[in-house]
């Protein structure tokens, strides 16, 4: 019953797979206790199974990893590199980063991505909001205020990833969205009654028929806790500062609810995803009835802020019922859009109207506006 290490280990604290080493973690999915080595194997193999079950990749594919330098995308890059070599996927992996132009935040996280590029020996492409839209996030916030920053950023990022991929001649972007994110989206859509999004919120691979660019989430079934542990044990180099604009913009209430649920019953994250996957909506009732109900709730909603979904899409307050029509293009920029003008162009047009006509020489209030605000907040008299 004693292990061969000097310090005695109780049988109950041994790894439940190899029964040889001391367990270091408990899997939230099934409460299994595992040692580091077995955890790595199980973690990587599950992701491999997710990838093969969903047939995400074909040999020879060039795939862009949406890389922010944060834990999820760093672990994604590391695991995909490992699996690509171990199972001969035959993929060419490229890192694709978005520079939103947020001083004191994105510049630091991009430095992490640049280190990752060397560590993982991958090509790196950085597309910036400034180049694409002629607006950096710092400029947008100084013009539109901090409250709607995530709305702008989310809409712009979605397009920026697609455009970055197109620039690289790549038609598949993988992102680090994990099981917690996915369960959160299901819950959020459920709480909002957004049934249109609810049904498609758990799909692992999304593609509009008109778009050449696919998006997928290999971490769909991977718990955040395990991603953080994997990064920690493997000593991966990741960046973990909250965006300077984020705390103002949203307090993750759904996330808090989910974390509290997980504390009581860790499997609930998988269970929520399962529910989302198997949910089938009743066929739509005749339109008249539906419309009336919708209008009523719209009035209440109209005063509220615009909200941003974790996948980067946005619910615009005044928008009519969202229909996911494929293949329509924005009249201004040619990007895919269900409306005449895409959301990014709509937001940007609003910004242009408010852009200062004259700039003051040596004005430093725009660059690093968030940093400045933070410093000012801490001043006391």
């Amino acid at each position: 019953m004693t292990a061969e290490t000097p310090k005695k280990i109780k049988v109950s604290s041994l790894c439940e797979l190899c029964h040889g080493r001391k367990a270091v973690m408990k899997r939230p999915k099934n409460l299994q206790k595992l040692c580091k080595e077995c955890f790595y194997v199980v973690f990587e193999t599950e992701i491999h199974n997710t990838i093969t079950d969903a047939k995400l990749f074909q040999p020879g594919d060039r795939v862009a990893i949406g890389a922010s330098g944060g834990k999820d995308s760093t672990v994604l890059a590391s695991v995909l590199k490992t699996l690509n070599e171990r199972y001969n996927y035959g993929l060419e992996l490229v890192l694709l980063s978005i520079d939103e132009g947020i001083k004191g935040y994105r510049d630091d996280s991009l430095a992490t991505v640049k280190r990752n590029q060397k560590q993982y020996e991958m090509e790196l492409e950085i597309v910036s909001y400034k180049d694409l839209y002629n607006w950096s996030m710092d400029e947008i916030v100084s013009c539109a205020g901090i409250r709607s920053s995530c709305t702008y950023c989310g809409v712009l990022r979605r397009q920026a990833l697609d455009r970055g991929a197109a620039k690289l001649n790549i038609n598949h972007v993988v992102t680090g969205h994990n099981a917690d994110d996915m369960a959160e989206t299901v819950l959020m859509n459920l709480l909002r009654g957004d049934t249109g999004r609810l049904e498609k919120s758990t799909t692992i691979l999304t593609q509009s028929s008109g778009s050449p660019i696919k998006r997928s989430k290999p971490f769909k079934y991977t718990y955040q806790k395990e991603i953080v542990l994997y990064a920690h044990y493997k000593k991966l180099d990741y960046f973990s500062t909250e965006c300077t604009y984020a705390p103002e913009a949203f307090r993750g209430t759904t996330r808090e609810l989910l974390k509290a649920l997980e504390a009581v019953r860790p499997s609930c994250i998988m269970d929520i995803i399962y529910s989302g996957e198997h949910l089938a909506l009743a066929p739509k009732k005749p339109k008249k009835h539906n419309q009336q109900y919708k209008n009523k709730s719209k009035k209440v909603l109209e005063n509220q802020e615009q909200e941003i979904n974790p996948d980067g899409s946005v619910s615009l307050g005044r928008e009519k019922k969202i229909e996911f029509k494929d293949g329509n293009r924005c009249e201004k920029c040619g990007y895919l859009s269900s409306n005449k003008i895409c959301k990014a162009c709509m937001l940007l047009a609003g910004l242009e109207m408010n852009r200062a006509k004259v700039t003051i020489d040596g004005n430093t209030s725009v660059d690093g506006a968030a940093k400045l605000t933070k410093t000012l907040e801490q001043l006391s008299f």
Binding site: S13, V24, S68, H177, V228, H232, S240, E256
Partner: protein
């Protein structure tokens, strides 16, 4: 009683961005548990009392913060009931920060 306390994953915001704290805990070995450690952290390490709710909820570590004791998940060590030992390393990692 010597110990090391680490705040990772962005959690260092609650301690003036210091990630690693080498501390001399005012407890006798065998007398104190993680519960006492949490109280110690709130009273001695968190710089701004406003940040205490970032770290604790209902007298324990807030859900979403991962706790490791000597690199082992605290869920395997009895969580709040774990009896502190000299030379321990306690790691608190936020899983909530952006991916």
């Amino acid at each position: 009683m010597k110990a090391k306390i680490e705040f990772l994953g962005g959690l260092d915001v609650i301690s003036s961005h210091v990630r690693e704290h080498k501390v001399n805990l005012p407890f006798e070995e065998g007398d104190a548990t993680i519960r006492d450690l949490i109280r110690y952290i709130c009273e001695n390490i968190i710089t701004d009392p406003k940040d205490i709710p970032v770290f604790i909820e209902d007298d324990s570590v807030r859900p979403g913060i991962l706790v490791l004791i000597n690199d082992t998940d605290w869920e395997l060590e009895g969580m709040e009931e774990y009896v502190l030992e000299s030379g321990d390393v306690y790691t608190f990692t936020s899983t909530l920060h952006g991916g």
